[in-house]
Symmetry: C2
Subunit: 413 residues, 2 copies
């Protein structure tokens, strides 16, 4: 039982994975196992009964968008009857930020890991304010989703096709040299993404006005690349999953109620524990009292060695998540303590181009008593409201302890 | 004679200047004092006889572009006859990178300082490789200039008009939080510029194909915003110029032969000394032996408190100009020693959002024996070749000594 060798292989696979954005398609047609009565959501499995406010709000919004219900009460009834089923995005090679809802009629980015061949998926980013992923489902939210599907998605699909594929690992490496950490701060990455797509959008759009609308929407959304980035991280960690004897974490995800992790050498089981409430900065008029528990698949970024782990690349982020630039450096330095290696392609200029801490080792987390640092948005605890802030959070130690115990049992060590 | 008060006023005017890009027009129609037999160039005044290789190459290219000559010998004859005259960009409210050639038929960005009302101008950026500003003038160079004039400029002019004005000070402030220093590294700024213009270009271009061509050209050129940035800096320092009793440097510029400075309280006279050759990294196949002397108006960026003075914002720049990320921090810290103040709007995340060193004080330069640090591209010393590298350079101390002496004489102190 050579755990070191297994972890070397898992992290090697994670780093060498090269996820390329190759297309955009309807979830119903391209996501494996997607079906008309299925909704995908962030985090480990959850029922309506145990779902948080923003998760219930987003489920309601997705069913309104699909034309299946008229309000939250109908949504609840439909889900509790079993006529609509809920499954984690992660069970379908997908990831979604915050509530992470992907319904059959939504378009998803399609990424292919060109080193190992696996695919991954994520939905389109809606921008800011009242948005489905934070549990809002007003007419404003739904009409933006409809515009995204009817106007933006066809143009993006053609533009991505015309691009011949966009290497998201290369884009991320560049963005980390421009003050992004790839999770809460995707300003440079979104500009790079918009820059690559702009001439293609101008070329393929049905008119100059539509091209302008799509480019304005992408360019003005500093998170427009977040979803392809998350899917890219999913493709990377999936490549690292399933290595016999490896203690490397291959998924971290939250549904607003439970935090869940998976471990490379421990198959598809989830290790879960109740989520914490993030610490952070609140929008005017909101306080920690309003915050939902930690939610979203976006912790896939930290799992792949960016986000909270690459804070040192993004000193300006402290204006958004609180703290001082030195805290950002310290956050990255702390994460080296619990990671197996340093990334070959993601490097940090202020640390002399040192690679980001990559491959969370469950053993180190438990031994050192250091949990991963995670950047995150903060949703309102009630359905229908939306984002109230952004900040930092730690996953519960209990999951890592459970996983280590399971590893000892599984491998008899 | 309250020098401190004068310097406070000069730097206050420099920082409060708010240059907005308001249009694009032909130099002949919009640059004050432009005429058909005039070429503008970088740096202090120069004759053909004393001009460096890249300056001669760029003059030849500009005259070829104007259809006035057939080769370098004809260009020389025309300039030496006095039928074509050479004057500094700075004598016409303009600036140009490297050789800085602006000929009557070239389009220029028009900026207006919306605080104090003065205007400034700069030409379009050509991108990389064989380009006029580095002294190249092959058919490849000329055909790109023609495409820029015939295809790109009309679209950009309409797009800028449709934008209602682009606040370049705000753009720069944001770019400094994304790893730019605004002189050699304008990657984030160029993406922000492209992002703002993209929907407008898509809207106003005569076809999707032309929009795509223009957007590809802007997006793929990480210096596309350099020229508007330089013009913005020119508008800022011009606002600081002419304050009675001020020892603040209001222009630093090089023509490849001489470095020249102007001082706020000393009117329009130039203080000059021979240029140095930059230290830096050379492209494959070239060495310091191939380098021209320091050239270009782009030192207007350092004069306004960015560029080499904001190196601490741009740790990744060391891969381009040589050194370690700590050298970038040290460069900025050293410049605080010779500056009057710290910028109100340009701040540096890794230094806890401290303002950039702003307003070079001739007295401090001479007293402390510290000359400004300048980032720069490096041109080949021969006409017709182009860029061979990028690096760092210091202006000659002699100019600052001359200026201080002149100040003492002028004001009797």
């Amino acid at each position: 039982m050579d755990i070191e060798k297994a972890n070397a292989e898992a992290t090697e696979r994670m780093m060498e994975a090269r996820p390329v954005l190759i297309g955009l398609g309807k979830a119903r047609e391209v996501v494996p196992g997607m079906r008309d009565n299925l909704l995908l959501h962030a985090g480990p499995p959850i029922s309506w009964a145990r779902a948080s406010g923003p998760m219930r709000g987003a489920i309601t919004g997705a069913l309104l968008f699909e034309g299946r219900v008229k309000d939250e009460a109908e949504a609840r009834a439909l889900v509790e009857s079993g006529d609509i089923q809920l499954e984690p995005c992660h069970h379908h090679d997908a990831v979604g930020p915050m509530a992470g809802l992907i319904s059959p009629s939504m378009s998803v980015y399609i990424l292919e890991n060109q080193t190992h061949g696996n695919k991954s998926f994520s939905n389109l980013n809606e921008g800011y304010g009242k948005v489905l992923r934070y549990g809002a489902y007003s007419e404003e939210v739904l009409s933006r989703l409809r515009w995204m599907e009817d106007v933006m998605a066809p143009v993006l699909a053609d533009a991505i096709k015309a691009s011949g594929g966009i290497d998201i690992r290369a884009l991320l490496a560049e963005a980390l040299h421009m003050g992004d950490e790839g999770h809460n701060r995707n300003k440079a990455g979104s500009l790079l993404f918009t820059k690559i797509l702009a001439p293609l959008v101008a070329q393929v759009a049905p008119s100059g006005s539509v091209a302008a609308e799509v480019l304005r929407s992408m360019g003005d959304n500093a998170l427009s690349v977040l979803n392809p980035v998350m899917a890219a991280c999913k493709a990377m960690v999936d490549a690292a999953h399933g290595v016999e004897g490896s203690t490397i974490v291959s998924v971290m995800a939250r549904n607003g109620t439970d935090f869940g992790i998976r471990v490379s050498g421990l198959g598809d089981r989830w290790f879960t524990a109740p989520v914490a409430v993030p610490d952070g900065l609140y929008f005017p008029g909101f306080t920690a009292e309003d915050a939902s528990g930690d939610i979203g698949d976006s912790t896939i970024t930290e799992t792949a060695g960016i986000g909270g782990f690459a804070m040192a690349s993004a000193p300006a982020i402290v204006t958004f998540v609180s703290g001082k630039p030195q805290d950002a450096i310290d956050a990255t330095l702390e994460m080296y303590e619990i990671c197996y290696t340093e990334h070959r392609f993601f490097t940090i200029p202020p640390l002399d181009f040192r690679g980001t801490p990559t491959g969370i080792d469950v053993r180190k987390v438990v031994e050192k008593g250091i949990t991963p640092r995670v950047n995150t948005g903060i949703a309102h605890k009630n359905a229908g409201v939306g984002q109230v802030g952004a900040g930092l959070v730690r996953p519960p130690m209990a999951m890592f302890e459970q996983a280590l115990l399971a590893f000892a049992e599984e491998y008899g060590v």
